[in-house]
Each structure stands twice: as C-alpha cells, then as structure tokens.
Subunit: 80 residues, 2 copies
C-alpha cells in the first residue's frame, strides 16, 4: 500500500525557505507571486496485509514520532 | 489564486533523505515500511487577475526556472 504524508508549517510559523523562494521568484521577474510556503511530501510504501484503518493508525504514529514536529508543523495522511 | 507545486525526484534517482527516513522508521519499530521517498510541496499565492490558463503557464515557467531541477526532479501543478 502506498501512503502520502504531507507535512507543512502551521499558519503563523515563519518559513525562511518559503521567503527565500518568494524573493528569488520576484527577482526573476515573477512579480505576481505573493506569499510562498514550502512543505514536505513523504511517500511511504507499506508491506501488504495491513488494513486501511491499521495503515492509517500506524502512519499517524510515524508522523507523531518522527515525520512531523507537531509543535510547529501539521500533517495530513493520504492513503492510495 | 492559490497554487500547489509538487516536486519529487524522478524514479531511479537515489534519494538519501528518503533512505535515512526509512532506516530511522525501521529502527523505531515500523518494520512494515518498505521504500520511502521525500519530495517538496511549494504553495504559491498569486495576485488576483490572472486567468487559470495564464497562472498555469507562469507557474510552469517558475518550475523550469527555479522550483525544480528537471534533470533529476519532476513536478506537477495543482490550481486551487
């Protein structure tokens, strides 16, 4: 089973990488760009035999343990 | 207008960050995880007044110029 985890900074948390990308786009002539935020997408391949409910539960544990820093980041889980 | 750009490594390109995450998950007891790939999601806020077609064309230019390294990465554009 293939699972996608989207991790992004919570609203209000400063995003220096996004700021740098936005500034660079402005310098390159893309003046129509307002804000930019950069997040991560983690694609996991899970071994077969897990139910969808179990897979979601386990991936949630992975997010809380390692994949996201829940102080400043939020995540969403997308089962394929 | 809000636009999401997903950037990921092309299949076959080594992903050391994904490998590190996969190894760490294994050590943490998540043995059901096979492969892991890590990509980026870039959320852009575009100023109003652009048509959807123009927005897609401009964001494609941004991807080719700055956001993705098309030698080793592929991207997809999602208009909100």
């Amino acid at each position: 089973m293939r699972v996608k985890v989207h991790v992004s900074l919570k609203p209000g948390v400063l995003d220096p990488q996004g700021k740098a990308v936005g500034d660079a786009l402005g310098r390159l002539g893309f003046g129509e760009v307002g804000g930019v935020r950069v997040g991560k997408t983690i694609e996991l391949e899970l071994k077969d035999g897990l139910s969808r409910a179990d897979a979601e539960k386990r991936v949630k544990e992975m997010c809380e343990t390692l994949l996201a820093n829940t102080v400043v980041e939020r995540y969403s889980i997308e089962l394929a």
